[in-house]
């Protein structure tokens, strides 16, 4: 549960560990996207959440280096940036797996058996909600309603919505998609 992980306890940065900060900002084009977002908000503090969205989209997660970079550019206290990044559910500080499966646990899905769907995936892939499989292929997340309640129970696989899923069939549906992704690689 709640503990105080140290800086070294969290994942290392996105780039090579040996690169200097300015090297990393210059060599990784993704920082340009975050830069553009911050510029659009006049490098002012109210653009923080938008900047975090950009960073999350670009890297898939928020690491210390990126958070520090955003804090510095927006002239915000690091503790505030960290506080905001950890307040909102959509931001994650951990790298995600190659593929992401999000199971909706909204009310409509819940009463139509989303719990069982989630349990089936957890069992098949030996992963708990919020975690990533050991081979880093699949991250399993939960969400509070996509607003696709007519298709309940619903989940998304890499952004694609799969509706009316059955606990008995879902593992295979995911396996098919993972296999298809492996082939295209």
């Amino acid at each position: 549960m709640t503990s105080t992980p140290t800086a070294s306890g969290r994942p290392a940065g996105n780039g090579a560990a040996t690169a200097t900060p300015s090297d990393r900002l210059a060599s990784d084009k993704r920082y340009k996207i975050i830069e553009a977002t911050m510029r659009r908000h006049g490098y002012q503090g109210h653009g923080l959440i938008e900047a975090l969205h950009s960073a999350q989209e670009a890297f898939g997660y928020l690491d210390d280096f990126t958070l520090r970079h955003i804090a510095r550019t927006l002239h915000l206290p690091p503790s505030k940036v960290f506080g905001v990044a950890t307040f909102y559910n959509l931001f994650t500080l951990k790298p995600q797996g190659a593929h992401t499966c999000v199971v909706c646990l909204g009310t409509a899905c819940y009463i139509k058996g989303a719990r069982e769907v989630l349990a089936a995936i957890e069992a098949e892939y030996d992963v708990k909600a919020g975690g990533t499989t050991r081979d880093n292929q699949l991250s399993l997340l939960t969400a509070r309603c996509f607003g696709s309640c007519a298709l309940a129970p619903v989940l998304t696989f890499d952004g694609e919505t799969i509706g009316k899923v059955a606990p008995s069939a879902i593992a295979q549906q995911i396996a098919q998609r993972l296999a298809a992704a492996r082939q295209t690689q």
Binding site: M1, T2, T4, T6, A7, P78, S79, K80, G83, T86
Partner: protein, 237 residues
């Protein structure tokens, strides 16, 4: 323009920019608080200072509600006492508050509040979270087990010291007081080691290292002194 109001039937007068809490303090009427600290902005978070006001169907926090002409305030009804007791019980159940082994035993606002509301046992399940103690700073320490998330340290660091080293991470029951990007206190690059957060803490969560059980005396009044001196050039010694 002065305002006249009654608190618990006692007629008092107050300035129009005063809160119910300030007016009550001036009239020596005690309203319990935990997240309020003289010298810091109020956030209305602990809900201990909720009062009944005639004409309002909601309970109002005394710390953030301005006085109004003719206001009838009740601060100590049966209902309010019951709610306050429940709030204190919730706090004791939430983290690991063990007075007997605490540095702040006898100098703790939570403990005082528990005694004041007559809380002799907790009806709720203890959550027993496993929380860390940060002793990485050379002079101060933080024990998250004793923290009630009142954010007085956050506000003291931001509003009085100006460093904003401290903030809250996470949310709900998983909220945690952090320094910088959740680094050990001793590794914080923004902390000035001024100790204002330690002064502001109502419990034994923030303490001076080397204090043993029941030794740790907080110096919360210093913060109001400092604010008055800095902003109004008034030295209330």
């Amino acid at each position: 323009m002065p305002r006249t109001l009654t608190i618990n039937g006692q007629e008092i007068s107050a300035r129009s920019d005063q809160t119910i809490l300030e007016a009550a303090q001036d009239a020596n009427i005690r309203i319990p608080t935990l997240c309020h600290l003289d010298g810091l902005t109020d956030v209305g978070a602990c809900r201990m200072c909720l009062v009944e006001v005639t004409g309002s169907n909601k309970l109002l926090p005394a710390c953030t509600t301005r006085v109004q002409e003719g206001m009838e305030v009740r601060t100590d009804t049966e209902r309010l006492r019951a709610y306050r007791r429940q709030i204190i019980e919730l706090l004791f159940a939430e983290r690991n508050h063990v007075c007997a082994v605490c540095v702040a035993n006898g100098h703790c606002e939570l403990q005082n509040a528990a005694i004041a509301v007559g809380m002799d046992h907790v009806r709720y399940d203890y959550i027993f979270p496993r929380l860390s103690v940060d002793l990485s700073h050379e002079r101060f320490g933080m024990d998250h087990n004793r923290c009630i998330l009142c954010t007085r340290c956050v506000r003291a660091c931001d509003q009085l010291e100006g460093a904003h080293t401290i903030d809250v991470m996470g949310r709900g029951a998983k909220s945690l007081i952090i320094r910088d990007m959740n680094v050990p206190w001793g590794e914080s690059t923004t902390c000035t080691s001024c100790g204002k957060c330690v002064m502001a803490c109502p419990t034994g969560a923030l303490f001076k290292q080397g204090s043993t059980v029941a030794e740790m005396v907080h110096d919360a009044e210093k913060l109001a002194f400092l604010k008055a001196a800095r902003e109004r050039k008034v030295w209330n010694v």
